[in-house]
Symmetry: C2
Subunit: 139 residues, 2 copies
C-alpha cells in the first residue's frame, strides 16, 4: 500500500491520524463496501486484523476526521459509509438491502428549512427512500 494522494494511507495522514495497520485495513474495507456496513461486518472482513472495540474507536476517529459518516437506517445497529459523493439511500422494507441513489435536493430547500425551523444554519441532510426491491416483489 503506497502513500499517495487518495489512498487510505494518505487520507489518514492528511487527517492527522496515526497510520496503523488496523486503521488502514478498516478504512480500506469500508471504502470497498458498496453500501453502508456495520461494525460486525467490518470486523468479519478484517479477519482478525482488529477487534470490535477497536473498530468502534477507529470509526469514531474517522467520523471526527470526516472520512466516515454514521447512518441511522437500521434501528438495531449502526451503519457506516465512507464520505465522498453526497448521495442517499433506497431501503427495501422487506429484505433490508440498501442501494445508493443519486437524488439531489433543490439547493433552495436547505435555506427554506433553515428559516422555517428557526435554525442558525443547515449543514447537511439525510434522505432515505423506503420501498420494495424487485427481488422481493417477485416473491
Amino acid at each position: 500500500m503506497k502513500d499517495e494522494k487518495g489512498t487510505v494511507g494518505h487520507d489518514l495522514k492528511k487527517a492527522g491520524l496515526r497510520m496503523t495497520p488496523q486503521r488502514l485495513a478498516l478504512l480500506s474495507h469500508l471504502r470497498a463496501a458498496n453500501s453502508p456496513i456495520s461494525v460486525e461486518e467490518l470486523v468479519r472482513k478484517g479477519k482478525g486484523a482488529y477487534d470490535t472495540a477497536t473498530g468502534y474507536r477507529i470509526l469514531d476517529a474517522l467520523i471526527l476526521a470526516k472520512l466516515v459518516r454514521k447512518i441511522s437506517i437500521a434501528s438495531d445497529r449502526a451503519l457506516f459509509e465512507a464520505t465522498g459523493t453526497h448521495h442517499h439511500h433506497a431501503v427495501c422494507t422487506s429484505c433490508g438491502i440498501i442501494v445508493d441513489v443519486e437524488a439531489c435536493l433543490p439547493k433552495s430547500l436547505d435555506d427554506r428549512v433553515r428559516v422555517s425551523a428557526g435554525f442558525e444554519r443547515i449543514d447537511d441532510h439525510a434522505l432515505e427512500f423506503f420501498g420494495l426491491c424487485k427481488r422481493c416483489a417477485k416473491k
Copy 2:
C-alpha cells in the same frame, strides 16, 4: 375520554386494537408530544400507567396499525411520533433538539428514485436536516 372519530379510543378500535388504559394513555401522550419522543420519556409521562416493556409492546402494535412511526435519528435510542401529517425534521447537532419542518419533496422524485434504484415501488421517504439551532449558535 369519549369514543368519537379522531379520538385515541376511536382510532384504536378502528385499528382493531383492544382499548386498554395503557394504550389510551400512551397514544395520548405520544400525540401530545410536539416532536419525536423516546420510550423512556413516554413511560415518565405515563407516571406509572405502564412500564417500559409494555411501552415497547404497545408501540409495536401501534406501528403495525400505522398509527405511529419509528424514527431513526438519535443513534442511542429509538424515537416515535404519531402518524398524521407527512413532515420532516431539523436536528440540532449541538443540543439534539428536533423541530418539525414542512418541506415537501417534488412528487417526481420518488419515481426517479424507483427507477434508478431498480426498485419495484417506493412507498415512503424520510428526510432530516442537520444544523445548528439559534439557541446553540448564541453560546
